[in-house]
Amino acid sequence: MYPARLLLDAPGCALITRGMIAELGHFALILAFVTACLQMIVPLVGAQKRWPGWMAFAEPAANLQFMLTLVAFAALTYAFVTSDFSLQLVVLNSHSAKPMLYKVTGVWGNHEGSMLLWVLIVTLFGAMAQWFGGNLPPTMRARILAVQGSIGAAFFAFILFTSNPFIRMQVPPFDGQDLNPLLQDPGLAFHPPFLYLGYVGLSMSFSFAVAALIEGRVDAAWGRWVRPWTLAAWMFLTVGIGLGSWWAYYELGWGGFWFWDPVENASFMPWLIAAALLHSAIVVEKRESLKSWTVLLAIIAFGFSLVGAFITRSGIITSVHAFATDPERGVFLLLILGVFVGGALTLYAARAGVMEAKGVFGLVSRESALVFNNILLGVSAFVVFIGTIWPLVSEMFFDRKLSVGAPFFNQAFTPFMVVLGLILPIGAMLPWKRARLGRTVRGLWPAAVLALAVGALIWAIQTERSALGPLGLMLGTWLVAGAVTDLMSRTGRGGNRLGRLARLPRADWGKAVAHGGLGVTMAGIAGLLAWEVEDIRVVQTGESFDVAGFTLTLQAVERVPGPNYVSTMGIVELSKNGERISNLTPEKRVYPVAGQPTTEAAIDNGFLRDVYVVIGDPQEGGGWAMRTYYKPLANWIWGGAILMALGGALSLSDRRYRVAAGARKAPMQGVPAE
């Protein structure tokens, strides 16, 4: 029954050799594809005909699919770890001298391996839906798993037919060509897995939406089921994007943190839509309104994940990240995108009328605030989308070859976020159903005054005339103070407010922490962009120079051998007012096998500022080219992202989801005799 068994019993295969592990993985992958195909059909038919046996098929199938994919992934990892150069992928992306960490992370540092990681996560979510989905009605669960199976089947087919990681070499070479040195960084260990957990997590929201459309049932319970999955996906996306941004910041050598590159946008669009979705799902859960809109958002969110996969892997839109520029893969992915999004939207058009809104609310209410949240997030995602595909559209339909880059997005996208930040604290505190604006705003007076004071103070003390810094910090203060006001308002009046604060539901804490985190990130971005100081110069060894009040001394430049590279390391002393702060060691590494150099910036991290030093080439007249940056509030950008993710995690651990998850088991325990 299991592949290993089959292989062992086959004649001549009494022993599993090292080389066979890859075949085993390949075989497991094919079996997983078959399982996914069955999981796509059997439970769906079962749910339609109300055949319990057929519906129940989904559960072992989901588990088996996950196990088989795990075997395939483990086999590929084994091939990388043992440097099995009979596999083409290992030859192209590994080297025997590469440190072990990068042998493992190299598994997903390439197109084929990262697709395998992608389906591994698809099947993991399928299996998790089965583990935690005990409280779902059987037909709903069967349908969700069937849809999840169909997503798995599509991507297994994609891997097996266009991007097979288990392809062998005719003649295995003596050694590999090494992984791109820039990817030989701990960033690769965490950034892609988190990003994929986010992308693929949205497939669960999609499966829930499609299952609900087939079922014709969207109610408060559905909102409660779908929200944790969306929340988890959004949280993972937040971490993934944050890590990627931080990685770029320290690795690229000039400290950029966001480039509005198509592939970054590909991860940002699902993040924005997921943020909209997890807010509108609250309205479904609490007020049974916005149902059809929420279902539509769930479809669009995963649609953007697929668009992201298409952009990254088709090479149709030029991006610095593009994985592979293979038209065949592009067409296949476009087909997957068309079938899933097109199919779901057709189903939506046919069924959306069934979902009747129940909740009734006034023009000024939490519900309408959340509607505006959704409009702003949706439109901002749309702006990013248009900007990303515009070069393609313009060339195809208007015969104008043009570029859309960072300056466009900064201008066209930022206003929406500013407006969102301005109304967020008010919207977050409006009561449900019917609210009075005046009352809510009165509660927020102290926060508004504080924000204005901070803005005015910074305006007064800064030397430049840029409004960006004061406005950004004002907005950040407004969001953080608004979040604190929101929390305090929930503790009521009278004594022991702190005790009540600690006992507030975790969802309340999660909301405040995530909203505050957004404010911290906004303040960080504004501060960094407004007050960054850059210094480019030629420095002789032993020479000192000043940047933004700091004194840097290039004490020496040394050659240091690394495991698979040679480093030119500058030793720079950082001091302020004659007091030594730290020694910085910016490096320039050359990887002989891959034949590529990298720069390793040295950063002195601080709460309010980073000092960022990069060493360049030796100059003809002696000395070294050096770049130094003073980067105020840089760490706030990622600190805010961590807070947002933490807020998501707090919300996710709220009691009402844990109770809901255990709902099926509760009646089994019986009621104790009184």
């Binding site: 820039l182 690769l188 990240h321 009734v360 519900e367 509607v371 880059g405 066209a412 110069r537 990298t598």
Partner: protein, 151 residues
């Protein structure tokens, strides 16, 4: 982000970063303007990078050209027009408004208006639905309510 890192280096022979010390202009004001303009210009042989960020030789040539024009007394717009005349509007990272680009620039505001109108229409519908629902206490219900209240 990880592949950005990758591609950048495919285009260089030596591991240097963008603006070199020998490129920097003496006049800080002019240099600041040069940097500002550079951020809006695409390095034509790179993938989506500005000449300010790029290490490619061509980007360096363009940076020097920008500085040359500035020293010659061009305004920021004149420098950009100079480059667009030679390399086409592909060189601009910030597409100019006009012609079909109105779609690009107008898409966001148009969607906002559309979404806003749609959203408000929806909200009005929901809030109007409220009125009958609330007034819909029948006579029996009001009587019963009175009984409860006066109990």
């Amino acid at each position: 982000m990880m592949k950005r890192v990758l591609m950048i280096l495919l285009f260089l022979a030596s591991p240097v970063w963008a603006v070199q010390p020998d490129e920097v202009l003496e006049d800080p004001a002019l240099e600041a303007r040069a940097r500002e303009i550079s951020k809006d210009l695409r390095c034509l042989v790179c993938r989506n990078e500005s000449i300010d960020d790029s290490n490619a030789d061509l980007a360096r040539d363009l940076r020097l050209l920008v500085r040359e024009r500035l020293v010659a007394g061009d305004s920021n717009e004149e420098v950009k027009t100079f480059l667009v005349d030679r390399y086409g509007e592909y060189v601009l990272l910030n597409p100019r408004m006009g012609g079909s680009n109105w779609i690009l620039w107008g898409a966001g505001p148009a969607m906002l208006i559309l979404g806003g109108v749609g959203g408000i229409a929806y909200l009005r519908r929901r809030s109007r639905a409220a009125a009958p629902g609330e007034a819909a206490l029948s006579e029996d219900e009001s009587k019963r309510l009175d009984e409860i209240m006066n109990r």
